[in-house]
């Protein structure tokens, strides 16, 4: 080592990398953020090492463009390459396991010609697309996506998703939901599908809602920013713009449910989308109670307790269900 050159770069870069990885943890708190800020402020070398890694690591997000494509050297293919010494010692069983993993991973994608993503009940996942757009999947949702050089298409098979679409005039972004086709160039909106009922809430920009089948006797409707459209059968109802209602319709992105004068029956149906513990209404009277407010989607117990204490309803728990009655 040369005198006077302190060997600190390696250590600082390692610390910066650890911070970056920890920041991606789901339980990253404001306290953690404050600790990171303090570390960054402690030395210029800290800041620069962190920014450098952060910058390069963001470039690695380009890899999302490869989603759904077969990878030349995914684990299953590695058997044809010369294995490293340690791997050569791996048992045949674990290689077979890797092959099964890869098969499960690609199964359904290649046959369908596009990537498929699913969330379980209570799930919530964000997917970056190859073109820089993002899809956020709500609970119990399945989508398939195909992004090619000429088209960007997503099929909402069930559930609800929020789309942030990167503007690209040459490649319209099309969401297929049941009997509806929703087309945009660049905007932010959500689509929810309950069977053949399709609800579109537009946070920014404009979207067009048209029948999925060419020549169907249904008029195309344009929904502007702040608007919500509900389409079912031949009808499409577009409500006047209301940013508050759109924001309420998108509160699931924060893990919350917002109700405004909703019946308890509707609220229970909403909660049941997110939880395996069912909310059941014991009688018509309870079902008709109107409620408002914002609640944690995953905390059905707290909601039930509130109904008991604030609304004086009877709350009974049995067999994985919570019954609410007068």
């Amino acid at each position: 080592m040369s005198p006077n050159v302190e060997r600190t770069a390696d250590r600082i870069e390692q610390q910066a990398a650890v911070w970056l990885v920890q920041r991606e943890r789901p339980d990253w708190t404001p306290g953690d953020q404050a600790a990171l800020e303090a570390w960054l402020e402690a030395a210029t070398a800290h800041k620069l090492a962190f920014w450098r890694l952060e910058h390069g690591w963001t470039k690695a997000d380009r890899l999302a463009a490869l989603r759904g494509t077969a990878r030349p050297d995914a684990p299953a293919a590695s058997r044809t390459r010369r294995p490293r010494r340690r791997w050569r010692m791996a048992t045949a069983a674990s290689l077979a396991m890797a092959a099964v993993l890869a098969a499960a991973h690609f199964g359904g994608w290649l046959s369908a010609g596009h990537a498929r993503y699913e969330t379980p009940v209570g799930g919530h996942q964000t997917l970056p697309l190859a073109d820089g757009s993002r899809i956020e999947l709500n609970t119990d949702t399945r989508v398939r996506a195909a992004v090619t050089a000429s088209a960007r298409q997503v099929w909402l098979d069930r559930g609800e998703a929020y789309f942030e679409v990167r503007h690209d005039a040459r490649r319209p972004f099309v969401v297929w939901a049941g009997e509806r086709r929703i087309t945009v160039l660049g905007t932010r909106f959500s689509v929810r599908r309950d069977g053949d009922r399709v609800k579109v809430a537009v946070a920014e920009g404009r979207v067009e809602i048209a029948p999925a089948a060419a020549g169907a006797p249904v008029r195309a409707e344009v929904v502007a920013q702040g608007g919500i459209a509900v389409a079912q059968g031949a009808s499409t109802l577009v409500t006047p713009a209301s940013p508050e209602r759109v924001s309420g319709a998108l509160s699931w992105r924060r893990g919350m449910l917002t109700f405004d004068e909703a019946t308890l029956a509707d609220a229970a149906a909403e909660f049941n989308r997110y939880n395996t513990t069912r909310l059941v209404l014991g009688d018509e009277e309870a079902a008709g109670v109107r409620i408002g407010g914002t609640f944690e989607a995953g905390n059905v117990d707290a909601f039930a307790r509130l109904l008991g204490s604030a609304y004086g309803l009877r709350v009974t728990e049995r067999d994985g269900a919570i019954e609410i009655s007068r």
């Binding site: 080592m1 040369s2 005198p3 006077n4 050159v5 302190e6 060997r7 600190t8 770069a9 390696d10 600082i12 870069e13 390692q14 990398a17 650890v18 970056l20 990885v21 920890q22 991606e24 943890r25 789901p26 210029t44 070398a45 800041k47 620069l48 090492a49 920014w51 450098r52 890694l53 910058h55 390069g56 690591w57 470039k59 690695a60 997000d61 380009r62 890899l63 999302a64 463009a65 490869l66 989603r67 990878r71 050297d73 995914a74 684990p75 590695s78 490293r84 010494r85 340690r86 791997w87 993993l101 991973h105 996942q125 964000t126 997917l127 970056p128």
Partner: protein, 196 residues
């Protein structure tokens, strides 16, 4: 934008793209190759702290002039120093735009998305298998650390360690300034250990 954010943006936009040329410059003008990463860090710090006082109008010559001064300072302060080294560096010329700048020719600053993807892919291919698999699941499939751990049947901690290691290697490759040729072999050995 706060002042720090502005300086950060300036550093990422103007200085970081010079990393391959800067790394070559240090490597060529310094005998102990093990010092390269540390010298580069010190030069970055000097450049940034000077920019905090006043943004240089012409960043590229400024970065290389700073690098040259820094290497001379270091060489002078070293108790064992080759006079040749100092003389060589001084001979490089005091003016920006002098001979050493030929080394500062950088690739076009704005790489297309496709070029960037290719570069990241090439970097990915240099990673040890387990490390690469973790990064593929994180960056290509968009899995969380926890999901990646479940998919590979390893602990979240192991995923974090592979991510940390892979991130550093990948960023070195993508920015084109891998500082220590010897480091790769050492890391490979560490990876092989971790993979068992």
């Amino acid at each position: 934008m706060s002042e720090r954010d502005a300086l950060k943006a300036w550093f990422l936009r103007e200085v970081l793209p010079l990393e391959p040329a800067l790394t070559r410059f240090i490597r060529r003008n310094w005998s102990d190759q093990g010092d390269v990463a540390d010298l580069r860090q010190e030069i970055y710090v000097r450049v940034y702290e000077a920019a905090c006082r006043q943004l240089p109008l012409n960043p590229k010559p400024f970065v290389f002039a700073t690098a040259r001064h820094h290497l001379i300072d270091r060489a002078r302060r070293a108790s064992i120093v080759s006079f040749d080294l100092v003389a060589d560096l001084e001979g490089i010329g005091p003016r920006p735009g002098a001979a050493f700048l030929e080394d500062a020719v950088t690739p076009p600053r704005v790489a297309s998305a496709r070029q960037e993807l290719r570069r990241v892919q090439a970097g990915l291919a240099t990673l040890p298998q387990r490390c690469r698999r973790v990064i593929e699941l994180r960056k290509i499939d968009g899995l969380s650390q926890k999901e990646t751990a479940e998919r590979l049947g390893v602990s979240v901690k192991a995923v974090e360690e592979h991510t940390t290691r892979g991130m550093r290697r990948l960023v070195d490759f993508v920015l084109g300034g891998s500082a220590a040729p010897g480091r790769r072999a050492a890391l490979d050995a560490a990876d092989e250990e971790a993979a068992t």
